[in-house]
Amino acid sequence: MKICVLVKEVPDAAVEKRIDPSTGRMDRSGEKNLNPYDTHAIEAAMQIREGGAVQVDEIVALTMGPESAMRALHKAVSLGADRSIHLTDPALAGSDVAATGYALSKALASEQPDLVLLGQQSDDGECYTIGAVVADHLQMPSLTQVIKMDVEDGALRCERQAEYGYDTVQVRLPAVISVGDAINEPRYPSLKAIMGARKKPLEQVAAGDVGIDPGLVGADGSRVQCGDFHDPPAKAPGQVIEDEDTSETVDKIVAWLEERKLI
């Protein structure tokens, strides 16, 4: 079985995320990191490999993004992927969800994976939907927010929480699965793995190499335009207490509750 894992580079959690008013896109100038949700997808691939229910021949990490996105791939291979693919092309910049999912599906199609794994959401765009787009282009079944996944004879038994409680769904491979963050506890890469990461094969491909129609990607090929960024209606800030002396803190909370007749 061959598993492809989709990974994305996002602004580091410590960086304040903002839209660059001149481009209307995410300001990506600060420190960046592998999207934390994607480490769960890599870990899920590793656990399938180590679980032994099926032989995993290869785990391939794929990202689409500018030059710097290569670092997300380094991190992905340090976490266990065998090799990685960097889809990068100026023509792809500014792609919306539909265009990004289409481009990723083209790069995936040339790999012919049995299973595509991805994170439940990116930490910046938070669109939750790339998996569903990729799956429809690849003509594969798909589920998002999966928190338990077992391989049993050519199929996955997946569990996830939906509108009415937990659903268990049997999915025949090939399939696209976005994993929820409760699925596992990702491992930390060993120093050796970090050092070795740069030696694992990393292939760069451009849009034309995987047959992407330039008319369907980039800002011009995108069918939704996000703009007019503005502030939401202002809300009066709440009161904040820093807990230094806990008896004092507790007195303040109790007084606050009494004032509002809540006790």
Partner: protein, 327 residues
């Protein structure tokens, strides 16, 4: 033609409240752009003529009914794609939840359409629909405009109000669909399983809620003790993170795939305040948050924020409240 197509989810013979909201919203906006609102339902025998035509009360003029698997996105994508091909709707609209995200995005791929998710407001502008979406932890709002023949709008949970009108009854049309081979690759083994005890929290005046910051399942003892100190009509609530981890029952979960509540007091301990949690409790009358991270998003929408360790604060707060009540 500027018609709006919505998907209406159902479970055990009842329609989903957020889907009904989407129908009402679709009807109101369609009218503004000179169109009608239609609905798609997919399922089995329980989708009776009577049930389906009742969507007319929410503003749908026509309901497309297809026999198919319930609770999975891909069969619905096949149905909606066919209905749109045959009829030429300009927009597809979904209420919040989970399935709407998967169907809307899959439909965007199939029909080369633009999609916006987490939408809190839709409005008409020059005969077209424009969608507003809060972004970056609700610190900004982005406005989506669509190109092409179809625009896809996926609402945030509770964003669209249900509005009923008297005497509305929708025409029910059966559609025959050849499902895609990949739609048949997934089958539902069990749907809507309620994990953990069946606790009732919806009528509570005070909710004391716990999240991953409790550290371990036993952390809920602190939350339960505080709830007991408040006494009266107080219950304990939880986040998806702790429910998925098996620390607390699903019936107590607040948020996008849990319950929506608006008690007099919501006290959140060890909860970061993710959007999917916020949408289920933001209309509480008073919100207190206890979190050790001063930058936790929950402080952006709490009335009283306490930056500190819940392990220190919760037991003493419980004692102090008990003492107050006893005295």
């Amino acid at each position: 033609m500027a018609d709006v197509l919505t998907y209406v989810l159902h479970f055990q013979g009842a329609f989903n409240k957020n889907s009904l909201g989407a129908v009402s919203e679709g009807a109101a906006r369609a009218q503004e752009i000179g169109g009608q609102c239609h609905a798609v339902v997919v399922g089995g025998e329980d989708l009776s003529d009577e049930l389906c035509s009742s969507l007319g009360a929410y503003g749908a003029t026509r309901v497309f009914r297809a026999a198919g698997l319930e609770g999975l996105a891909q069969p619905v994508i096949d149905v909606m794609a066919k209905v749109i091909d045959d009829h030429g709707h300009s927009y597809a609209l979904f209420g919040g939840g989970l399935l709407g995200f998967e169907i809307g995005a899959g439909l965007a791929a199939r029909k080369q359409a633009g999609v916006t998710m987490e939408v809190t407001q839709v409005r008409a502008e020059n005969g077209k629909l424009v969608a507003e979406r809060p972004i970056l932890q609700d610190s900004k709002v982005s406005v989506s405009r669509y190109r092409g023949d179809l625009g896809i709008i996926i609402g945030r949970i509770n964003a669209f109000e249900t509005v009923t009108r008297d005497g509305g009854s929708a025409e029910v049309v059966d559609v025959d669909v050849d499902y895609s081979p990949w739609s048949n690759q997934a089958t539902m083994v069990a749907r809507g399983e309620q994990r953990g005890a069946d606790v009732d929290i919806e009528g509570a005046d005070i909710l004391v809620a716990g999240g991953r910051g409790l550290g371990k399942p036993e952390g809920f003892e602190l939350v339960e003790q505080l709830a007991a100190a408040f006494g009266g009509n107080t219950a304990v609530a939880a986040t998806r993170a702790v429910v998925d981890a098996g620390w607390y029952p699903y019936a107590a979960q607040i948020g996008q795939t849990g319950k929506t509540v608006s008690p007099k007091l919501y006290l959140a301990a060890g909860i970061s305040g993710a959007i999917q949690h916020k949408v289920g409790m933001q209309s509480s009358e008073n919100i207190i948050a206890i979190n050790k991270d001063a930058n936790a998003p929950i402080f952006e929408f709490s009335d009283l924020g306490v930056v500190g360790d819940l392990n220190k604060i919760l037991p003493r707060l419980a004692d102090a409240i008990k003492a107050k009540k006893g005295g």
